[in-house]
């Protein structure tokens, strides 16, 4: 221990226990470690601070819209910059419908892929097929968009949508003249884009389930399916939810691929065959030329998208309740009561 005569400077953490509030930040053994801790902490502050700064910046830019319309902006059904009318409801609707439908289509398939790759496939297959899945996640969105315009939209217009109308035309969501571009096209493109992300992360989560647990269940006489259902999937539950959220995050924010196939018509469309728009797509389209109240309304939409993404992530963590399974430092702050 150092003597009082040569005490280290007050902020130093070398050789001393220090607290910043309730967070214990010391002791460090030497100056190098202290510097290391300081620099990594600063970088973390900057990275998380950027998130806060972004949110504040968006809110400030959109002040005018919220000042004029208040929360009515969120439920305004009309977006008509030429008449000075702004409302977020058409985009909230488009975003939720396309992302929701995309997840509805992609999650079961992705889970199936993940379970197959993690548990059921021959070992020699897992490497190459896994790589293919990860590679599809790396394809740029504009490529998906171009493929959508060239292949998916014509196929929907000529083949799929007329077939759906013939078979299920009595359902309101399948009415209207099939143009190809529309909510269904956007939802399909998004499901293709999020599928590899969810599948790859889910596969890793399933692989991380302790082998001992799985073998114990098998040893007790469970079938493969029973082992999955009773041991592996429950254990991986939080991670799987995290994978789905990653996919949802990508779906919510996707602008380029969506704007090329959705038809860019800011209205609430009753039918999946009709053109619509999403928050990300309208921002990609109109931000460049907007000014004044129009620009403020777009900033308000960006702020909404930001809040939506953050809130979804926080809500999912809280819903799960058990943290990430293993107690970590952050879990102690989020869930102060012992699990």
């Amino acid at each position: 221990m150092t003597s009082r005569a040569s005490a280290p400077p007050p902020f130093s953490t070398i050789g001393r226990r220090r607290w910043a509030g309730w967070l214990r930040v010391g002791p460090e053994v030497n100056g190098g470690d202290a510097f290391f801790r300081f620099s990594t902490a600063s970088v973390t502050v900057v990275a998380t601070g950027l998130l806060v700064v972004l949110g504040i910046g968006l809110f400030v830019s959109s002040r005018g819209t919220f000042g004029r319309q208040g929360l009515g902006f969120l439920v305004g059904p009309t977006w008509a910059p030429v008449h000075g009318v702004f409302g977020a409801l058409p985009f909230a609707y488009g975003t939720l419908v396309t992302s929701g439908l995309a997840l509805f289509l992609a999650v079961p398939v992705a889970l199936g892929v993940a379970i197959f790759l993690a548990e059921l496939s021959p070992r020699w297959m897992r490497g190459p097929v896994g790589l293919l899945v990860e590679l599809s996640a790396a394809v740029p969105s504009i490529v998906y968009g171009l493929w959508g315009v060239a292949v998916l939209v014509p196929w929907l217009r000529e083949v799929a949508e007329p077939a759906l109308q013939r078979g299920l035309g009595w359902v309101p969501v399948f009415r209207g003249v099939p143009v190809g571009n529309g909510l269904l096209a956007a939802a399909l493109i998004l499901s293709l884009m999020v599928l590899p992300t969810i599948a790859a992360v889910s596969r890793d989560v399933l692989r991380a389930v302790p082998t001992g647990l799985k073998e114990g269940a098998l040893a007790l006489g469970a079938t493969r399916w029973e082992m999955l259902r009773m041991v592996a999937l429950p254990h991986a539950r939080t991670g799987l939810l995290g994978a789905v959220l990653l996919g949802l995050g990508r779906a919510l924010g996707e602008a380029m691929a969506v704007t090329m196939v959705i038809g860019n018509n800011p209205r609430i469309a009753a039918s999946l065959f009709e053109p619509s728009s999403t928050m990300a797509a309208i921002l990609a389209n109109q931000f460049g030329e907007a000014h004044g109240p129009h620009l403020e309304a777009l900033a308000a939409l960006a702020f909404l998208l930001f809040i939506l993404t953050v809130a979804l992530n926080v809500a999912a963590r809280l819903l799960v309740g058990r943290g990430w399974g293993q107690p970590k430092a952050e879990a102690r702050f989020l869930f102060p009561r012992a699990p």
Partner: protein
């Protein structure tokens, strides 16, 4: 280094001019960024760029927002073509009220009697009309909506006029290229694009009825005729600042969807530096004269003589402090 930013439409022309001008004045370095009229205007208002390019003249509100006087110097003419994709049918004559009603959802199929009325002898299929428009802010939308708004009250009231209007029906695509692709791939599509894109995309175009009641096909010559006829018709009343609309203008050969493509330069150029101002003024003068001879070979419309004369008068106002930038520099 002279910097400019703005509309994508004249970008290839400006680049060709800069390359050609290097033979005349090798010391000029000019960089033009086709970031869109809106972004270009914002930059010239802030002073971060030396000039902007826009396919639409500034509104009074924008003039006020600019803070300082900006000169409108037209350098070429934009031509917006109405294009469509109906298999088995060639160019059609489409009346403005029919076009407006197609975008309003009143006329829904290509074999509507009102379309057949202006196209006798043409067999029209019973294909649903799919209106296509620009989802991003665009000078083409301003020109197209202006034409239809003038001729159709319900269009003016419901959809409006401007760079961004509320179409309500149909499919929006981003950029001239997006609209071209959409029309190419969608049977029954009806839309509006710059003539250059319609030509390169091999789209079938429509003839439109101009103010004189004659059917005119989209062409650069039609735009030049529109500009010349408007100049003649307005005569003394022609706005000095050249903020004039050519849409649906007079003239037998005039094509109704024409517009000047402007360069916007701050009248008082001291902030940029006098030497730069002289270089820019020299380039713009060259573009107004020699440049116009080159434009048709690049598929761009040339300005009529009357417009060149008026633009010269505007350019002569360019100054830095007390010096007019087009006059020879004062001897030291």
């Amino acid at each position: 280094m002279v910097r400019g930013a703005g509309a994508t439409f004249p970008a290839p022309l400006y680049e060709a001019w800069v390359a050609a001008y290097r033979a005349v004045a090798p010391q000029l370095r000019l960089n033009y960024q086709a970031v869109g009229s809106g972004a270009g205007l914002r930059q010239v208002f802030d002073g971060t760029t030396d000039f902007a390019a826009s396919d639409v003249a500034l509104t009074d509100e924008q003039v006020a927002r600019a803070g300082r006087p900006l000169l409108h110097v037209p350098l070429t003419l934009g031509v917006v073509a109405v294009a469509f994709h109906v298999p088995t049918v060639g160019p059609l004559d489409l009346a403005p009220d029919v076009l407006a009603d197609a975008y309003l959802g009143v006329v829904t199929r290509w074999d509507d009697p009102r379309i057949a009325a202006t196209n006798p002898g043409v067999t029209l299929p019973s294909l649903p009309i799919v209106p296509v428009y620009r989802s991003d802010g665009s000078g083409s939308t301003a020109i197209f909506s202006e034409y239809l708004a003038r001729r159709h009250e319900a269009f003016a009231a419901r959809i409006g006029r401007g760079t961004q209007v509320r179409f309500g029906l149909g499919v929006g695509a981003k950029g001239n290229d997006g609209v071209t692709t959409q029309i190419q791939t969608t049977p029954g599509a009806l839309g509006y694009v710059e003539l250059l894109y319609a030509r390169h995309g091999h789209l079938t175009t429509a003839r439109l009825r101009n103010a004189a009641g004659l059917w005119v096909a989209p062409s650069n010559g039609g735009a030049t005729a529109a500009a010349a006829a408007t100049d003649r018709a307005l005569g003394e009343r022609h706005p000095e600042d050249l903020r004039v609309s050519l849409v649906d203008g007079p003239g037998d050969d005039a094509y109704p969807l024409s517009a000047y493509s402007f360069v916007l330069v701050p009248e008082e150029f001291s902030a940029g530096g006098e030497a730069k101002g002289r270089a820019l003024a020299g380039f713009l003068w060259w573009a107004l004269h020699e440049g116009q001879k080159v434009a048709p070979s690049l598929d761009y419309a040339a300005l009529p003589i009357a417009t060149v004369t008026r633009a010269e008068a505007r350019l002569r106002l360019l100054r830095a402090g007390d010096h007019r930038l087009l006059d020879p520099p004062p001897s030291p």
